[in-house]
Symmetry: C2
Subunit: 481 residues, 2 copies
């Protein structure tokens, strides 16, 4: 906390400054690394990331995905196999051209995503229907030379993610896998208490090479939406160009069908910070908090020994119960300074232990989210804290979904849309489906058509908000990261 300075942290008034303060003061990430667009994940931040990864990986593996690790480098020729894919990514790849003193015979690029690394191997591994479905995932970093302004967690040139790739015998099986991918991601976002909209992206905005793309968009206090995960149906597109064929039960060679999905860890962490945090700092869902409970002993003169010994008893009890606990017995700070510090780090529950508590063998528990205080007896401590964890999670989740509800509004005209964009809302409009009308929206109101709800048909309430023709869908428009 040596960089700690007095600031007025205002999440709603000045999100940008608030977020930067969070990253620095809660030791989440540091963008003073001497290469633009590359940040360092610090101890507290990366501890949260590790727990999100763990939840995601466990779920992926329960659903039959094998963990793998592919090289970070892709040879230029493999990268250039799929035409849309090249167009989509070639402007933003990093090129390795030399090693030691030598110029390489063949340039290598850092993966911007791994399809072109993975498919040549899938082609070797998949021979017959018995090899399908093939499902793998990898936790890794990807590299994109972003030309837009970079921002730690939201948009960097190196970003942390997990990507899954699957191959199937037919389109129906691939379609079921898309649903499974969506369910896996829901599981993680739900556990983090994050609200989201699941949209089918317009064709002009789908993943390069995909049949269609789904995306989880979530709100941000500054009114821009944050894309935290995507799921893509690739059909036979990649299988064709990478010659991904298998022999079916009748001995016929057939093309496989593939899918892929990726969850950005930086953006998922950013959403967790942005949704739940407040003007005193982070508010972490207990499931990912590196420390779930902080014990602050409040020693009175002459009673130091009793208080500290009782605090140790509490610590030991919580550790035994598997709760991640930290005892803050740093002599250099006063209790109030410790409250301030651990509130900044977002530790879900604070246990205050003074002479009164030591005498009565009770504890004072303070929730980070509501600041509410309760008293529990030593015997009931573990149950009381687990109960608070549940309450905190429910409260965070409810608040996040209520906020999303609140962000979502409707507009019938371009003027109305413009005004609501300026209010930084996510706006539902009737749309004819023509990309030109979407581009017109972008030009006129600086908002993007993010897509239409997936698997939930919505009836347009009027004609297309741009051209006035019959509307076929309800589009979601917003500013974006």
């Amino acid at each position: 906390m040596s960089e700690n300075t007095s600031k007025s942290l205002k999440k709603w008034g000045n999100f940008s400054e608030w977020f930067d303060d969070m990253l620095l003061e809660a030791q989440i990430a540091d963008d003073r690394y001497p290469v633009k667009g590359f940040s360092v994940y610090r101890g507290w931040g990366y501890s949260i990331v590790k727990r999100i990864y763990q939840m995601l990986e466990e779920k992926l593996e329960d659903e039959g995905h094998q963990p793998m690790q592919f090289p970070v480098v892709i040879p230029e020729d493999a990268f250039q196999v799929e035409e849309d894919h090249i167009k989509g990514f070639s402007a933003e790849v990093f090129w390795i051209t030399h090693a030691g003193e030598n110029e390489l015979d063949r340039r290598l690029l850092l993966r911007p995503t791994s399809e072109t690394a993975i498919y040549p191997m899938f082609r070797i591994w998949i021979r017959s229907h018995a090899d399908l479905p093939l499902r793998m995932h990898q936790t890794c970093n990807v590299y994109r030379y972003e030309t837009k302004a970079t921002r730690p967690l939201f948009r960097g040139r190196e970003f942390l993610w997990n990507e899954a790739h699957t191959a199937h015998a037919d389109y129906e099986e691939a379609e079921r896998q898309v649903k499974t991918g969506v369910e896996i991601y829901r599981h993680v976002y739900d556990a983090l208490g994050l609200s989201y909209i699941l949209l089918k992206r317009p064709d002009f905005d789908k993943f390069p090479g995909a049949v269609y793309s789904l995306a989880f968009d979530t709100w941000n206090p500054d009114g821009k939406v944050n894309q935290i995960g995507t799921v893509h149906e690739l059909g036979e597109n990649f299988a064709k160009v990478f010659q991904l064929t298998y022999e079916d039960e009748e001995g016929t060679q057939k093309l496989a069908h593939t899918t892929c999905y990726g969850m950005g860890m930086g953006r998922t962490l950013a959403a967790t910070i942005a949704h739940h945090g407040d003007d005193n700092g982070l508010v972490l869902p207990p499931v990912v908090a590196p420390k779930q409970v902080v014990i602050v002993p409040i020693p009175f003169k002459g009673k130091e020994k009793e208080v500290v010994s009782y605090a140790r008893e509490i610590e030991s009890k919580l550790k035994t119960a598997g709760i991640r606990v930290v005892m803050d017995d740093d002599d250099r700070l006063r209790p109030g300074e410790k409250y301030y510090k651990w509130e900044m780090f977002g530790v879900p529950v604070r246990v205050e232990v003074g002479p009164r508590e030591a005498d009565a063998r009770s504890v004072t528990l303070v929730r980070r989210d509501t600041k509410e205080k309760t008293v529990a007896r030593f015997e009931d401590l573990v149950g009381a804290i687990r109960g608070l964890f549940g309450d905190i999670y429910e409260n965070l989740r409810t608040r996040s979904w209520e906020r999303l509800d609140n962000e979502l509004v409707e507009a019938d005209t371009l003027d109305e849309l413009k005004s609501k964009m300026n209010d930084r809302r996510i706006v539902r409009v009737s749309w004819c489906g023509d990309p030109h009308c979407a581009f017109e929206i972008k030009d006129q109101v600086a908002g993007e058509v993010r897509g239409t709800l997936w698997k939930k048909e919505e009836k347009p309430i009027g004609p297309c908000v741009v051209c006035g023709d019959t509307a076929s869908e309800v589009a979601y428009v917003s500013r974006t990261y």
Copy 2:
């Protein structure tokens, strides 16, 4: 197992072929990736790696190391700060020179190790004695353009590792940290049942920029030693050039002292495979086996239902107990084929369930390491299996240390050393400590002086095996990877 072919697997007779077969057939790694020196870690192999990482990370974090994640790219100017370090690594770094269509203003290199990425940030974070000690670790991949022959797991151009970096107020504290680093690594190797020698490397072979380097060397069936981890005392060397200073309690600016240590995951996995495996495949220590138990139902005609239902009962009981279990009820394979398959994958315990077992509510348990069969009652199943896990671990560990004992021999003359090198042993010789004598050994017997035991003084038995002068130490000589 579609690549399964009939082979005569001979670990001791032909290690190289045996090892390649293991990688392919047990789905550990695949070096058919289209860039030389870059391999893919497949599902079974990477599942083992994940468990090793998890043990290591937990221990590092228990010992006060914060998990972090630094960028993979290092700017050329930061890399060139420490002179020995440049000399040591510059011939083998990969250079990024372009992004998209642009040539970069400043070349970036892929980290071959992370000191030069980490110290500029340590410099920002460390202000006063209160910021020390600072301990971090990161799990990441590093990149070295190896010009020697590459070999999956042993020597690649991308390798998986974990590296820890620490900064301290003085040399004594850094020295204590070196010991802690050694203990952390011991903890992991011990849990894997691996034997090793802990050597202080000769000065000419230390980490570029270090005061001294320690290394864990282990035996390999082909007689080459395999370096699985290193611990380095960096003194003030890096602190000086990166201006890593702090204000002590009296307000004086002082240089920090630093250490670092790295564990190679590929090589640690290679050792685990090479030490414990046999001519039927992998033999995995239960702690890292992705599946610890395989259940093979042996249905007899008319009894299929009872057998399968009993097998499911067993599966459920083991799962509840937290044992990683797989039920192999694949109709396409006969029981014998299943035994063969799961022996190849090294699953520690096989549970055979036939009509007799179903009737008697017993199980037949087969240990992977000794093939020994025992029978247990259903009620005692979990305890019996846990007991076997303990026995298997003890057996693997004992065998590995016995083998190391067996590998270690002595030589009094260069001729004797040469002959024992040809027998592919690790040879102890008296050495005067002069690098020229070490180089002479390399020239004459194709063996390398790996160093001297750390913290265990050994008395030389005679004069230096090369020059005949008084010997000051006992050097360990071997062929290497």
